[in-house]
Amino acid sequence: MIEKKIISKRFDKIDPYSIADYIATGGYKSLAKAMAGQRINILSEVEKSRLRGRGGAGFPVAIKMMALAKEAALVKYIVCNADEGEPGNFKDRAIMEKDPHSILEGMIITAYATRATKGYIYIRCEYDKPIEIMRHAVEEARKNHFLGQKIDKIDFDFDIEIRLGAGSYVCGEEFALLESIEGKTGRTRVKPPFPTSVGLFGKPTEINNVETFANIPVIIGMGGDEFAKIGTKSSTGTKLLSLSGNVNNKGVYEIPFGVPIKTVIDELGGGVPDSRALKMVQLGGACGPIIPRYLLDMIIDFDRFDEFESKTGSGAIIVMDDRCDIFDILLRNVTFFKHESCGKCAPCREGHNQLERLLRKFVDRKATITDLISIESLARVMHQTSLCGLGQTSPTSIISTLRYFRDDYIDRLESLEV
C-alpha cells in the first residue's frame, strides 16, 4: 500500500455531522494535550515536525506561527484558507466534507499556541456542502465548549466565524483573501508587511490552508519528531492528492511525501482509461508545470518542485492522454487566469490578454517565430514582475512546456522564416 492515511483516517468512517464520532475516534485529544502543556511546547512540536504549508508554496508553518506568537497585539487572527479554486484541486473540499473537526482542532491549537483571539474560515461560495458541514461543526464545537469563552475552563477565549466568497479565484491569495473578508474587492496588498505583522483588519494574522490546519492535531498527537519521520527530508508528513483528468480512479488520496508521480497515477489512479497513452501531467493545478511522461518518476516533494517556482505542491495531478493538444490546454489555463486576474498590476492585467492572443495563434497554426519569442519573453516577465502569486505562477504551464515540449511549439509555426 502506498497510501498512508493520517489526515484522511476518518474519511468515510465517521459521520461528518457528528462531533461525537470525531471525539470517539480520538478527536480533540490533541487539543487537550496541547492545552495541558506550555504554549511554547506546541510551537516546538510544530517546528520539529518541519511541517510545510499545504496550499502549494510549502512555506514552513512554524515560522509563521512563531511570528504570530511573538506579536504583542491584543487582537490576533487565525485564518483558514478554504478558498480552494485552483483548477484540479479538491482535497480541501474532501477534508471539510469528511472530517471538519480536524480543521477546527488545528485552528484552536494554533490559536492557543499563538494567543490568537479569533479565527475565520474563508470558504468559496461554490462549496455548498463544505459550507453546510463546517457551519454545523462550528456550532457543535461551540456547544461542546471547544470554541467560545474559557475553553476547557481555562483563560482562553477563541471563536471561529465562517465567511464566504462570491466567486473569485484570486481571493485564494492570502492578502486578497483578507481584503475579501474585510468586505472589499479581492485585490492584494503590497508586501511587506506580511500578514503575521499587519494582516486582517490591520492586526497580526496567520493564514494557513485547510490541510495545513488538519495536520496540527496529528503533529501534537504523535509528536513533531515522529511526524518528521514520515515523508522525505525536505517534505515531512503526508500529502493529500487531488487526482483528476484522464485517469480511471479520480479522487483524493493520501500518500507520504516521496512517492513517485507515476506510482500514484498507475497504482492509485489505475492508469489512463480507454487504452490511451499518457501524454503529459499538470502538477499543482492550472498554475503548475506541465511535464512529459519521461519525468513521471519524479517524487512528490517540495524541494523537487522548487525548480518550477510555482505552487506545485498543492497535490493536484491532472493526467492528460495523447488526445490532448498542448495548446488547447494552455489556452484553457490562460483564459482562466485572464478571467480571474484582479487587474491591479500591469503585467498580469495586460499580459494574460496578450498571452491568450499569442496562444490562439498556435492553436490556429498561425504563429511566427516572433510570436514564439514574444510568448516566452512575456511569460518570463509576468512570472518575474507580477505583484501576487496569480501572475507570478500563471505562466508556469507555458514556461514548462517551452522547456519540455518545445518541438510542439516549433511544429505549430506557420513558417520558420523570421
Binding site: E84, G85, E86, P87, G88, N89, F90, D92, R93, R124, C125, E126, Y127, D128, R163, L164, G165, A166, G167, S168, Y169, S180, I181, E182, G183, K184, T185, G186, F201, S242, L243, S244, G245, N246, K250, G251, V252, Q282, A286, I318, M320, D321, C324, D328, I329, R332, N333, T335, F336, H339, E340, C342
Partner: protein, 153 residues
C-alpha cells in the same frame, strides 16, 4: 424577502458587504442588484456607492445586470475539458439556444462560464443557481434541463 430584512441579518459593518450582496442576489429571481438597491446597501454598510459598485463588478456571483431565473455556470477548465465538458456546453447551447453570457428569451436560463468548481473527480460539472451537478453526460444534461423547465411550468 425585502432588501431591508435581508441585509439587516448582517451587522452594519463594511466587512459584511460581500456576503450580504451575494445572499440578497441569490434570493432574487434575477440574481442582480439595482442602482437604488445599491444606494440603500451603501448607506446601511456605511461605504460609498463607488465601493459597492466596485465590489459588485469584481465578484462573479454579483451583478448589476439582471440574469435568468436559473443561472447555469459551466466549468471550462482542464480537468473538465479533458473529460468532455465541450460536449456538455454544446448540449446546453443547442437545448437553450444561447451562448455563454446570454439569457434565454423567456428569462428562464442564463448560461455562463465559471472557474473550476472543485468537482474534478466527478468531471464534467456545472452549477445551476446553488446546486452542483457532476458526472455530466449530454443525456443527463437534457434530463436536468427538462426538470427545471417543468418546475417552472
Amino acid at each position: 424577502m425585502t432588501l431591508e430584512s435581508m441585509i439587516q441579518k448582517y451587522p452594519a459593518s463594511p466587512e459584511y458587504l460581500v456576503e450580504a450582496l451575494r445572499d440578497y442576489q441569490m434570493a432574487k429571481n434575477d440574481h442582480s442588484v439595482t442602482e437604488s438597491e445599491i444606494v440603500k446597501i451603501a448607506k446601511y454598510f456605511n461605504v460609498t456607492e463607488s465601493k459597492v459598485c466596485s465590489v459588485v463588478s469584481f465578484y462573479s456571483f454579483l451583478s448589476e445586470k439582471p440574469k435568468g431565473r436559473y443561472v447555469i455556470r459551466i466549468c471550462r477548465d482542464v480537468p473538465c475539458f479533458v473529460n468532455k465538458s465541450e460536449s456538455i456546453l454544446k448540449t446546453l447551447e443547442t437545448r437553450l439556444g444561447i451562448k455563454p453570457g446570454e439569457t434565454t428569451p423567456d428569462g428562464l436560463f442564463t448560461l455562463e462560464y465559471t472557474g473550476c468548481l472543485g468537482q474534478c473527480d466527478h468531471a464534467p460539472a456545472f452549477r445551476i443557481n446553488d446546486m452542483t451537478y457532476v458526472d455530466l453526460t449530454p443525456d443527463k444534461v437534457k434530463a436536468i434541463l427538462s426538470e427545471y423547465r417543468e418546475e417552472k411550468s
